[in-house]
Amino acid sequence: MKTRKTFGRIIVEIVMVLASLLFLYPLFLAINNSFKSFGEVMRDVIALPKQIMFENYSYVWKFIDYPRLFTNNLVITVLGLAGIVFVSSIAAYKLARTKSRMSILIYMLCIMPMLIPFQSIMLSVVQLANQLNLSESTVGLGLLYWGFGAPLAVFIYHGFVKGIPKEIDESATIDGASGFRLYFAVIFPLLKSVTTTIIIIDVMWIWNDFLLPLLLVNGSPSTKTLTLAAYTFVGQYTSDWQYAMTAMVMAVLPSIVAFMFLQKYIVKGVVAGAVKG
């Protein structure tokens, strides 16, 4: 009985590992063909490259100005995140601590936009961004994310703050701290675990976001994001698959590297975000 059970388990183990390799095979093919010449891609997609073409990478790197794109993504993501965390956490804290009709009303106003699909308002967002001079600028896009990310962040922070005993605020008030001083010295450090959750789900969203950048920063090469540049690049090189795949690999590489190092936190954050959200 015992040996039959372990035998079964080994079979399941082998089948699952094979299934996972098959599951990742498309990604392998993308990487594989990014190292080939055009002729080799056309002849056989499965075969390994006969000669590794690093030239593909240097060509695409220069053509799409990779360092510039990477910096753009970084600016948008970091600015967006910093704002979402700051603006949402202070508001959620105050709203959770204040018992009044006004407070409930503002809280509802903050979380209701979660029901509005982005596609429903996208045209008006573009029009408004133009009027506010926020379009065609990485900083402008980063600022807009503050509002788009706030509803979920306020919701998650609000739920968490309710679990922090009020006595903590009170004892800090007696010690003479108040307002922002009290918040940043005493409360914000206690929010570390939810802040991590929010950072993880928002980084994955903003870094990979497509439609909002397409509508707002697609005008000039100097403001494009990685995904956006890869999208336009493939549009221009529809038949040059080796370059297209190189661009794809270069666009997803930062995410994959980050995932390798932070796997545990990312999975935990995603689960926590889903369960609370």
Binding site: I90, A91, P117, Q119, S120, M248, I256
Partner: protein, 296 residues
């Protein structure tokens, strides 16, 4: 802070300082655009002419009376959403059960199935387009299997399946980790007690594991529904609506009318319809969810 305001005044000032920034941000991102959208939806406007014409509910009338594109896109989205929700959840639950057997490779397996979820959907669409167009040709040659010689992006029915498949491939890892977390909260002694009572694995699954997974299922179905109803990115890069305009979703149809055909008024009217549908579905779901919580 300010002595002259008194305690009450100071509290109010602080309340304002803490909450006004978020109100401003959300107003700019959602509320102002939302009201602009409602106004646009009542107009005939190509985005270029400086004077949009007010036409009342004409746009809405046209959407429901005579828009074959919208009807087709709606049918596509409903079909896609139903199949996506069922398939992604069933596959994720099955995978989660296997991964929960405490295999030696669990960490690797979980990571492997999760990786596509961290990638941008547009890029995932392009990688798969390459696989369908070039990769399948080579795979067909080396295996001789007919399945690889079908036109996966060129035939309307197969293109639909392709979009479904790629969406599931990209996101199944997300649902998988939610179900794994759910399974880990099923107490072991409950399962052991059932084994002692002589319940087989299938009865154990349906009578113990599945009911205890209910919260995870609710979350996952909810997420799958909200995501699938807005499907856009993956279609854009995989089929661009083709072949013959058969794979437009509602969100893509709105994008086409607004930004490609420059029907600003008409496109926004459609987007309001999408909003109302999402609102109704969410309200229904939340009430069902609430009722179940009371029962439990």
């Amino acid at each position: 802070m300010f002595k002259f305001l008194g305690r009450k005044g100071n509290d109010k000032l602080e309340f304002g300082l803490f909450t006004i920034p978020v109100i401003l941000c959300i107003a700019v991102a959602f509320y102002i655009p939302f009201f602009m959208t409602i106004r646009y939806s009542l107009m005939e406007w190509n985005g270029i002419s400086s004077s949009p014409k007010f036409i009342g509910l004409e746009n809405y009338k046209q959407i429901f009376m005579g828009d074959a594109n919208f009807a087709q896109a709606s049918w596509f989205t409903v079909k896609y959403a139903v199949l996506y929700i069922i398939l992604v959840n069933v596959i994720a639950i099955l995978l989660a059960l296997l991964l929960n057997m405490k295999l030696k490779s669990t960490t690797w397996l979980r990571a492997a199935f999760f990786i596509p979820y961290i990638l941008s959907l547009v890029i995932v669409g392009f990688i798969w387009k390459f696989i369908f167009m070039q990769g399948f040709e080579s795979l067909g040659k080396s295996t001789g299997w007919g399945i690889f010689e079908l036109s996966w992006l060129g035939d309307p029915n197969l293109a639909f399946i392709s979009i479904l498949l790629v969406s599931i491939w990209q996101s199944v890892g997300f649902y998988l980790v939610i179900y794994i977390a759910g399974l880990q909260s099923v107490p072991d002694d409950l399962k052991e007690a059932a084994v002692v009572d002589g319940a087989g694995p299938i009865r154990r699954f349906f009578n113990i594991t599945l009911p205890l997974l209910a919260p995870s299922i609710t979350i996952s179905v909810f997420m799958a529904l909200t995501n699938s109803i807005k499907v856009f990115d993956v279609i854009l890069s995989l089929t661009a609506g083709g072949p013959g305009g058969t794979t437009y979703s509602v969100a893509y149809d709105i994008y086409r009318d607004t930004f490609q055909n420059n029907l600003f008024g008409y496109g926004t009217a459609k987007s309001i319809v999408l909003f109302v549908v999402v609102l109704i579905i969410t309200v229904i779901q939340l009430t069902l969810f609430k009722r179940r919580e009371v029962e439990a």
